[in-house]
Symmetry: C2
Subunit: 396 residues, 2 copies
């Protein structure tokens, strides 16, 4: 807990935590985390994508490796635990096994970029690890016009070598500890849970188009009120989601035009975010919501434009690793769907991957009030130790 708080002070903001990809604050963070890794017996390096990597050699160095880790970057005005906790816990596990001559190496990775704050593209670190970065991505720019390539150079690395960040061999697996970032474990009185699936996600933008008109002189029956139509559709979204257990559907953004108290709204744009573990269920829900929007618009003499922005498939984590985590746990683990994306989502199609969630008090994350109960962290660490023990017994 103290280490997470210590890293939270390394920030680009005068007060509050912000640590973006390859920033000076990230450099200071790497120095400290790198020292912790070395003290735990690891050889430390930074790969060409900027990921901080420490290796604890096992009995036969370089033969097999198991990866632990999470990300070291943060959102703006972040808490101390999102991402960071998974790196700090990984180091704590290595400390426990440093003199044990495991039958495999343990690699701890502090991913350089997961949140997507600096370049508007998330998962740069984990994508580099599985060779998913294309060259176009190197020319993306941040708010100051600095390209990814230049940022890599400024950090003392070589962007031309970025392919070298990719793994040469397939590891035995990947385990990520992460705060839940939601209220489910707390609501059910569970300290930890195991992630079964990372939900697929649809994003769309809808524009309802009516007629802006004088709010005083246009009778109700002669109106084409884009906001009244959008409001009815928002209610539909909220009604439909619970019909599909486990689904979340959200209208987070709304913009009306002209957005003046005495003018009937002529245009309203709303966002849609739908997530579910089953891609087919999610697809059907989106089709239904689209049909609903069309019908509402037709009834009211509105037009509606629908733009699909994202269709991200659900990712199933590795069942043998999930069962191994369960076997390592003193209590039955709540199996969960993660509604948020994580580095494990990027790695899972390439590396057997697992995630252990720690309860988020108040369901709070991406906020300075984000926290973790020390008792929950103790339990998660215990499960981690026994998980590595069980892996060790298998590969001995």
């Amino acid at each position: 807990m103290a280490r997470c708080r210590e890293l939270a002070a390394m920030s680009e903001m005068p007060s509050g935590t912000l640590r973006t990809y390859l920033s000076p604050a990230m450099k200071r963070c790497y120095e400290i985390v790198g020292q912790w890794m070395e003290s735990a017996g690891m050889r430390v390096s930074v790969d060409p994508a900027g990921n901080l990597r420490g290796i604890l050699p096992g009995a036969e160095p370089g033969k097999r490796v198991f990866i632990l880790g999470s990300h070291l970057d943060t959102v703006r005005d972040a808490g101390a635990f999102d991402g960071i906790l998974g790196v700090v816990m990984a180091i704590a596990i290595v400390e426990n096994y440093r003199r044990k001559n495991l039958p495999f190496d343990i690699e701890v990775i502090g991913f350089a970029e997961e949140e997507g704050v600096r370049f508007g593209m998330p998962f740069i670190g984990s994508k580099a690890l599985v060779g998913l970065l294309d060259e176009q991505m190197l020319f993306r720019t941040d708010a100051h016009g600095i390209t990814v390539a230049q940022a890599i150079r400024d950090f003392g690395l070589d962007p031309e070598a970025i392919a070298g960040a990719a793994l040469k061999t397939t590891p035995l697996g990947f385990l990520e500890f992460h705060i839940e970032q939601g209220p489910v474990l707390e609501a059910e009185g569970e300290p930890v849970g195991v992630v079964e699936t990372i939900a697929g996600q649809s994003r769309a933008s809808l524009k309802f188009i009516g007629s802006a008109n004088h709010a005083g002189t246009t009778p109700m029956h002669l109106r084409h009120d884009a906001l009244a139509g959008a409001a009815m559709w928002i209610a539909t979204v909220e009604r439909l989601a619970p019909l599909n257990p486990g689904m979340v559907a959200t209208v987070g953004k709304i913009d009306a035009y002209p957005n003046v108290a005495n003018v009937i709204p002529g245009e309203v744009t709303v966002s849609l975010d739908v997530r579910h573990a089953n891609d087919e269920v999610r697809k059907i829900a989106c089709q239904d919501l689209r049909l609903g929007a069309t019908m509402i618009a037709k009834d009211r003499g509105l037009k509606v434009e629908w733009a699909n922005l994202l269709d991200q498939k659900a990712v199933w984590l590795d069942e043998p690793l999930i069962q191994r985590l369960q076997a390592a746990s003193p209590r039955t683990l709540r199996r969960m769907v993660s509604g948020a994306g994580h580095d494990a989502m990027i790695l899972a199609p390439h590396i057997p991957s697992a995630m252990l969630f720690l309860r988020s008090p108040g369901g709070v994350s991406h906020h300075p009030a984000e926290s973790v109960k020390p008792k929950d962290a103790d339990l998660a660490l215990k499960i981690g130790y026994r998980f590595i023990e069980s892996m060790s017994a298998e590969y001995k």
Copy 2:
């Protein structure tokens, strides 16, 4: 029609019409309109509030006066007819009676300010005429920090004399021609209508307060979504209004926070605008909508804050003048409620007042496409002539 178009070219904007209170564009407008007044036989002056006033003396000058007019200022990117038409038609009526030695004077007033664009306060011109301006109002500032008092001075007038803009004696009456600014006459195939009441108006602002949370990780049943609550209330507004015939109720403005696609909205602020000819009906509707908001909030674990911003009573125009307009008309006049405020609304409690509405093609106003049918203007003018004739017969 040509005169209205000519005035539309006098603008503060390089393209499009904008003519605010005491602006240079207004000065040019006054020169031209003043010339038209003089050509029609009127003595022209500008009062200390900036109203352009022309008097056609009758048989016994100064004994009795009947007022015709409307306003000469405009909204941003305005049409050519809102306000202006009522001044131009008044001058046309005077032209018809200039050599007739009427038993009363006719005063044509081009009100200096009705829309409230420059100082954020409407009706400066008509309020000055009935002595409703207080001194505080002189210290209001425009976007450049210029006070009303300074603007009056810059126009060559004396702000200390502003009380002198008020009428010394009660006129026989006031008649205003104005475009409807709504779709009712067009929908019913009527060229003109007579205003019976100017609707009372309530304005309020509501803030729904829930919990901003991660759209991916917060299950539907653990949400306190401020936008979902606001949407349900917007639907209530739209459902309630038609239960009260003649009522209009509008949510024109909506602002969500943080207004991001993947975050459940934590706060949503919406506007409410309710208008009706009957103040009691309007008050009860507002109470019902407030109760509805409270109940929706309670059901959903939200808080709601309600702020009343305006409670403007309905104004009844003068029934004898309405009947005189009807008698002057070759066809039965549609009796109407005006949902918009007008100079006649300010004058009516002090001076017997009437309004004749001209059909607005497409219901369009406050827009460059605003128009008037020449045939409708002809008919309105005919009614105006016969109205003055009938007044003349009565006071001879």
